[in-house]
Symmetry: none
Subunit: 238 residues, 4 copies
DNA sequence: GATGAATGAGGGTTCATTCAT
DNA sequence: TATGAATGAACCCTCATTCAT
């Protein structure tokens, strides 16, 4: 009733179709949607697609069953929306460091740290398990996840390496493959241990750093040019 | 009730698990067990743990429901037994090539081929998906799979690398980590594409070979000693 | 909250059910009521009571759920109101022809045509199915439908026949029964075929006419007096 | 093992697929099937197809839900099986009287009594309501019911009338229509009153007899030849 | 007064497990 | 011992009804 003008104004920015002050249209309230997604996240990540029940989601989300079905057509769609969201959160900002104009080794290490840290974190491991576990039954889901996530990231890594090649810092015959190798080297051993649950906790930072440093080192020893080596020696002295 | 002495006598000969001529004890007939396992394999690998029904197993195995429950306490145990068996089949003989006394690069490439080929094959991908997908719900399953499979294999790779270090062919500060790196390099890109279903078919041999060759090359550029380099140059001439 | 006095004043003018210019009282606007009934008709007649959902009605009527529940306490009451209305429409004007002072055979045939045509029409068949199908669960519904519809009509037919008896045209020992016989003869075969869906379309006019003519003929052969026969012969000549 | 030959022989007559002594195959035990049908009958006849729930059937039949689904694929199939069974019971033996070589009026009256009595009985009224009520949603059901029931019966009546025409007892231009007229006349008023629930009880015998006698009389007055009239007068004298 | 988002009991159906045969 | 018919809890989803807006 006594909504301040400022408030109203602020809201109207994103007042897509709901009236400014009224209740959001069915399936349009972003708060409720998030609530459902949060419940779904907890349940699906914990149990996987099949073992999770809509009742579980209902309970975790604190919403009624009917409401969920207003926002999502069925279990599978809810799951897909969740995976989509998780994917975005995972791969967002992951590759920004590659735009930095900096010493090559430092950039690669920073990227490796970001990648390895993210990919072995609790939530992301769960997400990967969930998607991989469902890939047999809902192939499009895994496909889309890979295409929109790892594949796009991989392309950015490839572009970065190409630039380094152009600068004469790296000499690579198959840039695409090299990009895969770099990523795998940065997570060497860690990812699989996490996926299978051999490691119950995400690795401590120093361990990740050790793996990344070594991985980048292997990568640069294999692909670094004499130009890079000179630069690198100079950097170490400093 | 009125078991004759003769019967008892017969059994006592090989009382351990089954009489020589009589019917095997309940849940002890290895033929029937294999029959069940074979049905379970077809069903679980195809549908995953949750989506597979015990009726499916029953049908595929050609055994009655009751019989399955004599051999396995419940669905989960049957599944675990299957995973165990699959794991054995996967990692069996995978590391034999490392015992070969041969040129280092050749041995590594052959090992990489065996590993990469196996790990990206249809059946093994399904098995990995299944285990990874279930790891959140049945942590022991993933744990045991990893410990008895990849981890043991990794130890063998480590031992192999240590021997190469001792021979002066490699110079490695963290052999354990290097072993992981070697494995990851040999499957670079392929495994994840398969797990997520981005690749629907197992990769063709020439592609695997390309990846493995490049991976081994990176590894050897990073860790190979001058001694190895000389040997390698000599081998190439021949 | 701060309704002006003027508004209130305006309402008090015709406080009974609605102000002249203002908004009608809750559940009192006949236009809105008709709108709801029209939606309900489309839905209930198409799907039957149970299979129809209130959401369907909402959509067809273009009214909100809450509004429906202001006009009708629940689904069943809405349905009953609809049946009532349908009944009125069905039996309205159906018996007017019986008031005509005309040749007996012609009047009976015209009545038979009106009855048979109406009772086998798509909408009326649906209505009958719906009421009959619900009669087990909502006995009052069927009872009321019959009493207000067929029974009253039957009384009018009886009265008509009595008048014809008085005129010496018919000789009937049980007029009540004869009235039933007349009605049944006019729809012979058609009604049941329609109710069970054996006939998907309402019968063509010429077929109805054939049935009615024959039915009336049977009726008059059985109950017509010599007086009537003479009249009838005269009429035919003309 | 020691089953007597006699026993085995006797049973093997109907031992279709179940073993002689063993438990009947899934969905094959006629006793259990009847049990389910009986429960379904009570529920469906009472509530109609939509309003009846499988839980209701479960409870009434005293069988578990799973068992029902072994015997019937789904609710609709169970319902159809029930309707089929009811139809058979209703129309079985209904037309035998028409094969009697007897006085025409007596045969018609006896047939009319059988028909009218059966068709207005509690169970049959319920069955008719149920089928008619479902005809909108499951058109095949009503169609099949009509075709296998009333239509076949109607054909038998037509054949009977044709024979009477051949004997010179009746003179009918449209035998098919006359058959409908006969049936309708025998139930005049009763059926509709029962279907709509205006009559809560099945009509007493004397009332049915009154209706049937009058109906047959009308029919014979309309279609009886002079030959028949003479025969009829003779019979009355006796 | 009108709206329609939210509720949650209950719908039909499946399936891991048991136990009489 | 092996069988598979029977069980019933739990699955996903719908919808009559309510009530905050």
């Amino acid at each position: 009733m006594s909504e301040t003008l400022i408030d109203t104004e602020a809201k109207s920015d994103k007042a897509d179709e709901a009236s400014v002050r009224g209740r959001p249209a069915a399936g349009q309230d972003p708060v409720k949607r998030d609530q459902i997604m949060e419940g779904a996240r907890r349940v699906f990540m914990d149990k996987g697609f099949d073992a999770a029940s809509m009742n579980d989601v209902t309970r975790e989300a604190g919403v009624s069953k009917g409401t969920i079905y207003v926002y999502f057509d069925n279990k599978e769609e809810l799951f897909e929306a969740l995976v989509e969201e998780e994917r975005c959160k995972i791969f967002q900002n992951l590759y920004e460091v590659l735009d930095r104009e900096d010493n090559l080794r430092d950039v690669l290490e920073d990227f490796g740290m970001a990648l390895s840290y993210k990919i072995t974190s609790d939530k992301v491991v769960m997400a990967q398990r969930t998607v991989i576990g469902a890939a047999e039954r809902i192939p499009e889901l895994g496909l889309r996840f890979y295409e929109e996530g790892p594949k796009k990231g991989h392309a950015k890594v490839g572009a970065f390496l190409s630039r380094a090649v152009a600068k004469g810092l790296l000499e690579i015959s198959d840039v695409d493959l090299a990009a895969y190798q770099l990523s795998e080297l940065c997570m060497a051993g860690l990812l699989r241990q996490r996926l299978y649950g051999y490691r119950r906790q995400s690795p401590p930072e120093h361990e990740i750093r050790h793996v990344v440093r070594s991985g980048v080192d292997v990568f640069l020893k294999a692909y670094g040019t004499e130009v890079f080596a000179a630069q690198d020696r100079a950097r170490r002295k400093a």
